[in-house]
Amino acid sequence: MTRFQKKLWMGLLIMTLLTPLGILLPQKFKAEEAWGEWGTDKLEKLLGYVPEGLKRWAGLWKAPIPDYNFGGEGASLTLQIFSYVVSGLLGIGICAFVAYMISRFMARHGK
């Protein structure tokens, strides 16, 4: 790894440690989920009903770490922040690894 690449990785790590801002700021400004990404409970509140098809498919996939939070919905803020950073570290590691393997397989010398 070149010195420049090491520096970039340091930057990525620092960014990952700062990701809790991505939960703290929305909380401070009373902002909720992104538009169109509501869960079925929230839709029930917004519309008074949950669209049939949406209800059928919403639970299709059980992700191992839903919402980057392994404490579930009632998790304390500390646990949420901790989960978020760990998810961030896992995420950048796995994304980099998968992207590396795929591109390593396609790349050639001397181009």
Binding site: M15, W35, R56, S87
Partner: protein, 230 residues
């Protein structure tokens, strides 16, 4: 901008899977021909970067949240086809591991954020930059590339949401999938990206491009792109 499962009808998500698979196939062919080994570590970092920047949810006070995607700077630094690959990998991992974006909607999400966005951003960057080698015009080009890239991606996403009530309704006349019509979805999503999230994407793109031009100018694809064998 990550559409969850259940919001899109099969009439929407299946064709969009098809389109994304088509782009992945072309990306694979192009990269097999063009991708140099020295770019591989950067491609890995690009994916990591896109993943982490999407974790920074930006609030609209009392409203919704949104985030930058990072696809614009990846397209400018490593080329739009590389960005297709890097951002698609990220979206797949977000969906599978963190439930961020649906499995059925993965094709749509990849189309919006990993296909539309890098190509719009790249096109705008080249267009605004023109033939200038550097200076303030290139900085403006980078800002606009990020800004408009994200806004257009939001526009496509809002369109996909907004056509659902037209496509499918239950026996009682209620929408079956995403409930809000175009007249609600378009302004809601496009305005928040025009006024806030797009600006953030623009600034991130601009600052990172300045950094790379200063420290590793040989890496910047969109500036070197003139040579035919790239």
């Amino acid at each position: 901008m990550h559409i969850p499962d259940g919001y899109l009808s099969p009439q929407t998500y299946l064709p969009l899977y098809g389109v994304s698979i088509g782009f992945w196939a072309i990306a694979q062919r192009k990269l097999k021909k063009q991708l140099s080994l020295k770019h591989v570590p950067y491609l890995a970092m690009a994916a990591a970067f896109s993943f982490v920047i999407m974790m920074f949810n930006i609030p609209i006070p009392g409203g919704t949240t949104g985030h930058a995607v990072g696809a614009a700077i990846i397209a400018i630094l490593l080329g739009p086809w590389t960005a297709v690959l890097a951002v698609s990998v990220v979206l797949m991992i977000q969906a599978l591991l963190f439930g961020d974006g649906g499995i059925t909607a993965l094709g749509a999400n990849c189309f919006n954020m990993a296909v539309v966005m890098p190509f719009v951003s790249y096109g705008i960057f080249k267009l605004v930059k023109g033939k200038t080698p550097g200076g303030s015009r290139i900085v403006a080009a980078a800002f606009l590339a990020g800004y408009l890239g994200l806004v257009v991606a939001a526009l496509f996403t809002a369109f996909e949401f907004g056509i659902q009530p037209l496509i499918a309704a239950g026996a009682n006349g209620r929408p079956l999938y995403a409930p809000y019509p175009l007249s609600v979805a378009l302004p809601a999503m496009v305005l928040e990206h025009l006024f806030l999230f797009g600006v953030v994407e623009g600034l991130v793109t601009m600052l990172l491009l300045k950094y790379f031009l200063k420290h590793e100018p040989d890496l910047v694809y969109a500036v070197l792109d003139a040579s035919p064998n790239r």
